[in-house]
């Protein structure tokens, strides 16, 4: 049995339990009703999106400072996670907004800055894919700017007059809604960590394979 099998089983169990048991048993919100439950997916994925953008930025700084390829692999894995969870955020957001705001998309500060952050993460991957040799360093520079956007996304709802719910909503939730949220947050965090670990392992094995090929060429 591979080493990752048990953690993967745990995360799968938690993720599968989230919707039919934990979220389903949460009470309906008084004005929005059923559609409010998207929130239990939307907020955790938004947090994972912001978290992985920060991880990507910090790992890039360390990569630029030390030149250690390990930090570069972390940054790459984090950028892929940022694209994945950013997509989840940007899909679940409009699903909720259609019902709550009456429109799919609003150009308010948080929605716009999230879209920009997601595009930066995607640009990071495009640069790495098509930039040719040496692009990992350039991508690390880009990741810094992506990280600078994160605090802006977070505070934007509190400083601008927007229709996106503010960050102060979360601590005020009653326990019956707070528990599913925390459960989903924990499950998403574990999912992020697991996916990151697996992705970093793939990258590590790739680089090991590359160096093996190189040494094989030298021996010939």
């Amino acid at each position: 049995m591979p080493k990752w099998f048990q953690p993967a089983t745990l995360v799968c169990g938690l993720m599968f339990a989230a919707t039919p048991f934990v979220i389903a048993s949460a009470p309906y919100e008084s004005t929005m009703g059923l559609v409010q439950k998207v929130f239990y997916y939307h907020m955790p994925s938004a947090w994972m999106f912001l978290g992985s953008s920060i991880v990507c930025g910090i790992a890039s700084v360390r990569f630029l400072a030390s030149g250690d390829a390990r930090h570069d692999r972390t940054a790459l894995a984090a950028a892929e996670m940022a694209v994945l969870f950013g997509l989840l955020t940007l899909v679940t957001g409009p699903l909720w907004a259609r019902k709550a705001w009456g429109t799919w998309w609003v150009w308010d500060a948080r929605v716009t800055s999230s879209l920009v952050g997601w595009m930066i993460a995607w640009a990071y991957l495009i640069l790495r894919q098509y930039g040719g040799p040496g692009s990992e360093k350039l991508a690390a520079g880009l990741a810094l700017f992506g990280m600078a956007n994160v605090p802006f996304i977070y505070i934007s709802v509190n400083y601008w007059r927007t229709i996106h719910p503010a960050t102060t909503v979360v601590p005020k939730l009653p326990f019956s809604m707070g528990f599913p949220l925390i459960f989903c947050l924990a499950a998403f965090t574990l999912l992020l960590v697991l996916l990151m670990k697996l992705r970093m392992r793939v990258a590590e094995q790739q680089s090991r394979l590359d160096s093996l090929y190189l040494s094989l060429d030298e021996q010939r």
């Binding site: 920009v116 495009i126 700017f145 802006f152």
Partner: protein
């Protein structure tokens, strides 16, 4: 440090004065952009109301992207980039020198663009010239500070022509938004200085953040 910056600016200006390649191509491209927008947005002799500021900023960003790519392409083609990197001055001085050159070039372009947009789109851009100059300069500086960093980074990358806008536009969206909002507020018949001041302050804040990040990043990414 300041001397090194000045020498790099002077070098770029001398090269440019002799060939006039960048100035001509950038200005001409910017004018063509505005004309394309005019043909698509002006119907039956009247521009759609309020599009002027947007057109101005789009033209600045498109022309800026082109100019940024060309400046460093020129260094690469004549193989002077290595020499530039060997200059016995701190790396940030090279960055600042290049940035100053780009800002000067884009400012020249804007001197042509602003009256043209005001004329073709019936926008009251020039009712508050000092505010407009401040806003346009701050926006140009923010755009160019990120742009110079990325254009320099990408100089040796594959498919750099298409990668530059792919990286540059998402990051400079905040500058575009603040610039357009401030310019819209300037062009309003009932001028509200508070709104302009708010967006201008935001632009300056973006400039500071972008410049700081770029100065940090320039040295490690330009070292082989």
């Amino acid at each position: 440090m300041i001397r090194a910056v000045w020498l790099i600016v002077r070098k770029d200006v001398t090269v440019e004065v002799r060939s006039r390649e960048l100035a001509y191509t950038t200005v001409f491209f910017a004018i063509s952009c505005v004309l394309v927008f005019a043909f698509s947005l002006v119907q039956e002799g009247r521009a759609a109301p309020g599009v002027g500021p947007g057109v101005l900023w789009m033209a600045i960003m498109f022309a800026g992207n082109l100019a940024l790519g060309r400046t460093f392409e020129r260094e690469r083609q004549s193989e002077t980039l290595r020499a530039l990197m060997l200059v016995p001055a701190p790396r940030p001085a090279v960055y600042l020198g290049k940035l100053a050159g780009i800002v000067v070039l884009l400012t020249l372009t804007e001197i042509v663009l602003v009256p043209l947009v005001a004329l073709l789109f019936q926008a009251e851009l020039l009712s508050h010239p000092f505010w407009l100059a401040a806003v346009v300069l701050a926006g140009t500086f923010g755009f160019a500070s990120v742009g110079t960093l990325f254009a320099a980074m990408l100089v040796r990358a594959r498919s750099r022509d298409v990668l530059l806008p792919v990286l540059l536009y998402p990051i400079t969206v905040p500058v575009l938004i603040a610039g357009v909002r401030a310019t819209v507020a300037i062009a309003q018949p009932d001028f509200d200085a508070d709104i302009v001041r708010f967006w201008f302050a935001l632009l300056v804040a973006f400039d500071v953040v972008f410049l700081t990040l770029a100065l940090w990043t320039f040295e490690p990414v330009m070292t082989d």
